[in-house]
């Protein structure tokens, strides 16, 4: 009797994702854009919940909302962005870009809608155990590589931002 919930939430999240995403692309107030991006991420987490991937959803919130958005806000606050209306707030290439993107996007979306297989949430017990299992057995080497990548990013970021005079 609750099976109307899933499509309902799906619609809600889809609306949030697309609306907020479009706003991020088009808006001019950068803090608003950051916040809306956070909203997009949150709705994306909802999508993951719908797909029965609650661990992924929580990671999504933890990393994107909790960390990446903050970092971006950091960037926003450090780089004082003056919304002075440059003559072209968009690139000159906007029409081209729009055309190309549309030409790609429409067929892809059309193609995507042609998958009719239903999504049924995964088995009981959630995706934590399976995820951990496959992450630490089959994908342990990529896992290590990812850790190395993170370390490199850490060091690189520090080196880039570090001022030389101190």
């Amino acid at each position: 009797m609750f099976d109307f919930l899933e499509p309902f939430f799906f619609g809600l999240f889809a609306l949030g994702i697309i609306g907020a995403g479009a706003a991020v692309v088009t808006l001019r107030r950068i803090t608003a854009q950051a916040l809306l991006m956070a909203l997009t991420f949150a709705c994306m987490a909802g999508m993951f919940l719908l797909l029965g991937a609650e661990t992924i959803a929580l990671f999504q919130v933890l990393i994107y909302v909790g960390a990446i958005t903050i970092l971006i806000l950091f960037g926003v606050m450090f780089t004082k962005v003056d919304d002075r209306g440059y003559g072209l707030f968009f690139q000159q290439q906007t029409p081209w870009a729009a055309a190309v993107v549309l030409v790609i996007a429409l067929p892809v979306a059309f193609l995507a809608l042609s998958f009719h297989d239903p999504i049924t949430p995964s088995a009981k017990g959630g995706d934590l155990i399976p995820l951990a299992a496959s992450l630490f057995t089959d994908y342990s080497f990529p896992f290590e590589v990812a850790s190395v990548l993170l370390l490199a990013a850490l060091v690189g970021a520090i080196v880039l931002v570090k001022r030389d005079d101190q």
């Binding site: 290439q93 081209w96 870009a97 993107v101 030409v103 790609i104 892809v108």
Partner: protein, 637 residues
């Protein structure tokens, strides 16, 4: 023990790696100890292997690893352990060990100590590879290795111009020989489809190829041998090589490396036997070199150069033996020569070391009282060189001469005997000028001193060797060495099948003749330099132009300079012009074209990120189009 024969070259290699990596910073003085210890252990293993071979392990192939595999062409790096290689192993490892010990004392005050003791074990390693190789390619690797080490060590004091030049000279001349070796090697492979000694010799025995081909191969190999063993016409690098430190001269340019050519020919005995006429050439070249070098040695005043020329002439004896088909005698002389010539060099090195690094005998004299140990060991070595019975050189040289006569080369026999006389003369002269008479340089004489024990002990050991080693060839033609090596060089057809059993009568006649000539030479030398009857100066004046020719070493270097070096220089100039005008011209044109096109293309680099991103997305679009085309299938047609 044979199973881990790979340890023999392995240990010196390890020592080399260790010293060259950590020598400069940390090891310092320890490098000498490390290298010496490594070589010593190798020597012990070699002795163990010797006993096993003597117990009857006539031909063992110890595979190390697969060096290269091209199609069905395999080069396995394997150690071929047979009497021949075992004998060489013993000589190389033992003599090297003592020279290492000696060098610790000799190089003690040198800044490049660690460098020296990095190259030294490296040389030993290369030499052992050369000796233990079971095919020509690996042998060639060792061959080049020893060449390289010889270059490095001759030019050890590269700050001074002479050693650098001598090193270059040695290297270039060796290159000529190496070219010969390569030609021989490649031809061998083309003819026999293998480079493995065993296979090649089997094929030769079963169905020998055309005489001409064999002669070509043998000539090529002999060219290589002349290069490495300083025979005519490629000998002139060896005297210059004396610019290097004395232990280097002793080890590389007297005892081991220069015998590599002898070893190569002895190793290829079946080939050379099959190619008859070449052997005669080998013998001729050997005899010629022997007398040629001996005559030059008569008039040299640099003590080390005398030794160098005597080395050349002794090597000539060995080739003479090989040529007359007595490889066993050649190996025998190789072994004995390794001992007493190393001793001579170390002795002269000890003199130089104790006499303030002066090499000119005209400034020496009367040193006997100052350095008795050196003196007596030198006397022993000189006796061995002059083939006085019962010292080592006596047995081996007489065997060479005897087999030369018996195998039908009486002229060469005469030459050899005469050369023996010359040898006796110049060694007497050298020892007398050095140790007897009145000191001609008071100042240096007063500061002269006997060398430290670390240097004299090797002298004593080698002196004992020079006395005793000869008896491995006793009784003549039937001694231990013969029965030991014969299986390795036995080919049935070849003249190496010298008849076993001693013919005392003819032996004694030959021995008497050559010894008489030798003693004559000695007496002449004594009378000339002790009594001054006839006075050397007078003799030289009387000899006039001949004396000059000898002093100037037959003007060979000048000849080479004019004949070859200038030609090479001219050719190099032409090549340089070609490089400058044609090749560089082309390159410049190319660069110019690229510059032009780049200038056009750089318009695309707008520096605006968006454009780059757009181009990326455009690429995605293209991919999608192609993919869709294949998916829908209208791109197939």
């Amino acid at each position: 023990m044979i199973a881990n024969a790979w340890l023999i070259p392995g240990l010196p290699l390890a020592a080399f790696l260790m010293n060259v990596s950590f020598g400069r910073r940390w090891l310092g003085r320890w490098t000498g100890t490390i290298a010496t210890a490594a070589v010593g252990v190798s020597a012990i293993i070699a002795i163990g292997i010797f006993f096993e071979v003597r117990a009857g392990a006539l031909r063992t192939v110890v595979p190390l690893y697969n060096f290269m595999t091209v199609g069905d062409f395999h080069i396995d790096v394997a150690a071929l352990i047979d009497p021949l290689s075992t004998a060489m192993l013993l000589v190389v490892t033992i003599v090297s060990f003592f020279i290492h010990v000696y060098a610790i004392g000799y190089m003690a005050h040198d800044r490049g100590f660690w460098r020296f003791f990095s190259w030294f074990p490296l040389f030993v390693f290369a030499m052992l590879i050369l000796v233990m190789a079971d095919n020509y390619l690996v042998m060639f690797v060792g061959w080049e290795g020893v060449g390289l080490c010889s270059y490095l060590l001759i030019g050890f004091w590269f700050e001074r111009p002479e050693p650098a030049g001598a090193a270059k000279k040695a290297f270039v001349m060796n290159r000529i020989g190496d070219w010969g070796f390569m030609v021989g090697m490649i031809t061998t492979f083309l003819v026999f489809g293998s480079m493995n000694f065993v296979d090649v010799f089997d094929r030769v025995a079963r169905n020998p190829p055309a005489q001409g081909v064999l002669s070509l191969i043998c000539l090529a190999f002999f060219l290589g041998a002349t290069g490495k063993s300083a025979q005519l016409p490629l000998y002139s690098w060896l005297p210059d090589a004396m610019e290097g430190p004395t232990p280097v001269s002793a080890l590389i340019h007297a005892a081991t490396m220069v015998t590599a050519g002898v070893y190569l020919v002895a190793r290829s005995t079946p080939l050379f036997d099959a190619a008859g006429p070449v052997l005669a050439g080998v013998a001729g070249v050997g005899a010629l070199t022997a007398i040629f070098a001996a005559t030059i040695a008569l008039v040299q005043f640099d003590i080390k150069r005398v030794m160098a020329y005597s080395t050349v002439s002794q090597l000539g004896y060995m080739f003479l033996a090989l040529g007359v088909g007595a490889p066993i005698a050649a190996m025998f002389h190789l072994i004995t020569h390794a001992f007493f010539k190393a001793l001579l060099f170390l002795g002269s090195g000890s003199v130089i070391h104790g006499f303030g690094d002066v090499q000119d005998m005209r400034r020496m004299g009367g040193l006997r009282s100052k350095m008795p140990l050196t003196y007596w060991t030198m006397v022993i070595a000189g006796g061995a060189l002059a083939a006085l019975p019962p010292l080592a050189g006596f047995w081996s040289k007489d065997e060479i001469l005897g087999s030369a006569f018996k195998n039908g080369y009486p002229i060469l026999w005469v030459v050899g005997v005469f050369t023996g006389g010359l040898t006796a003369f110049y060694i007497t002269r050298a020892i007398w000028l050095t140790f007897h008479g009145v000191p001609r340089d008071r100042h240096l004489f007063d500061h002269a001193h006997e060398s430290p024990r670390v240097m004299t002990v090797p002298l004593l050991v080698l002196a004992a060797g020079s006395i005793l080693v000869g008896f491995i060839g006793f009784p003549p033609d039937n001694g231990f060495i013969h029965s030991f090596i014969r299986p390795a060089v036995e080919t049935g057809t070849g003249s190496a099948a010298v008849e076993a059993g001693t013919n005392w009568l003819e032996f004694l006649t030959f021995a008497a003749i050559s010894t008489a000539v030798g003693i004559l030479g000695i007496l002449l030398g004594l009378s000339m330099y002790s009594r001054g009857r006839p006075d050397p100066a007078a003799v030289s004046r009387a000899a006039g132009p001949y004396y000059d020719v000898l002093v100037n070493k037959y003007y060979v270097d000048e000849l080479y300079d004019r004949r070859f070096v200038d030609v090479a220089k001219a050719f190099a100039g032409a090549a340089w012009a070609f490089d400058i005008h044609i090749i560089d011209g082309l390159v410049n044109r190319l660069g110019w074209a690229i510059k032009l096109s780049g200038g056009g293309l750089r318009r695309a680099q707008t520096g605006i990120v968006g454009n780059y991103a757009l181009s990326i997305v455009g690429g995605l679009l293209l991919i999608l189009i192609v993919y869709g085309g294949y998916a829908t299938g209208w791109l197939h047609r």
